[in-house]
Symmetry: C2
Subunit: 234 residues, 2 copies
Amino acid sequence: MSETFLDTLDEQGPAPAEAAKPAASLHEGLLVALRDFIVEGNLADGARVPERALCERFNISRTPLREALKVLAAEGLIELLPNRGARVRELSPEDVRELFDVMGGLEALAGRLACERISEAEFAEIERMHHDMYRFYLRRDMHGYFHCNQAIHQSIVAAAGNATLAATYASLAGRIRRVRYSANLAKDRDRWGEAMREHETILDALRRRAGSELSDILFLHLRNKRKAAQATAG
Amino acid sequence: MSETFLDTLDEQGPAPAEAAKPAASLHEGLLVALRDFIVEGNLADGARVPERALCERFNISRTPLREALKVLAAEGLIELLPNRGARVRELSPEDVRELFDVMGGLEALAGRLACERISEAEFAEIERMHHDMYRFYLRRDMHGYFHCNQAIHQSIVAAAGNATLAATYASLAGRIRRVRYSANLAKDRDRWGEAMREHETILDALRRRAGSELSDILFLHLRNKRKAAQATAG
DNA sequence: GCCGGATATTTTGCATTCATTTTTTGGAAG
DNA sequence: CTTCCAAAAAATGAATGCAAAATATCCGGC
């Protein structure tokens, strides 16, 4: 039974927001599907990316697949070895350090820009999420906390009103998603409390539209997140 | 009939230059060559990217060319219209605004990281370039000043010691290179003096390894650059 | 002379094919 | 049993082929 590419997409299950919009072209759709396929960990770190198998999986020929692989390589998600195919890129501790810092820089920028243009409604929404997150924190609900945390950071980036920033941020987020740092707070209760306090200051600075201050706080917040991740994972 | 790309291509002279350029792989070499070809303005803004002509120009078939086009589209240098081919992406004022701000955010990050790890020798080198630039400023040597200016900003990014940051920065710089020169100080002597003074404060903050402060200064420096560019180009 | 529609040409997107290169397999020597 | 080397098999990188879509050209009507 041959399954079509679109059927395969449907099988992916509950995917984030962008799954709802139909793919403008085959290439674009394949790119998204393949990126998700890799980011979600369907291939082991450093594993060879099997062209043949993926062609069958997505019911396409090698040409569009290889086009997508080149793009993913340019994004840094995989690496292409001449005549030796594509491999899922392994993130060294150095890579993780770099990614965290750049993410921190971009969030710092997002905070600064958000202070310039965020509306009261947008701020109220973030404030609401913050309170939700606090409740998760009090209940020691790690999963709910983490979800809220992600949503808040994402909302700050969105509030910056800069599509280029959002795209760059999303690309780096995809690269680092394979590193499971979400569970790290469980092993470090002190860090969890500290992170919660940092979020209080984030909200406060955003309320006061203190761009420069928020920029500093966000960078240091990410820096501390990195340190916690390195301490537990490294 | 509108201007033909072939005319533009013919003006370039003999093609073999790219073929002679040594490259690890055909794809990688072609990608670099094609990116330069577009960034250097060999194709008009919004112009169609002629697959067939470029294949002849670079002596390759359509397959590797199209792979390169997909990558350049992902980088934001061109845009792909379904069934209508690739076009050189035109930068709207909004795009330019976004790019300047993200560049500012990345430079702010670079300054902060540079303060953490720059060596005395690296700082001395930047200081030397700064003094060179000041001499160009005094002599009203726009070209020399601009070159030095670029080198200083590039050195700060390099001193950050973050390859991911450097790659992201380079990608955005390529996208904006077409309009970067329109931020011409020649039409705005006041801005030139202001920029020079800002560079003094940049060097001062870097000397004191004042990361947070330097971060602010660099972002605002880019923000002012953006305003100057918008004032002269808009 | 200008416009609208049908046809011819070009272009695009993808599949397939072909030449190399790499990897695996098989077996003989030590 | 291990090691080395040669042949087979598979994978990669790039060229070509082909159907569909878009663009250009031509021609009749107003």
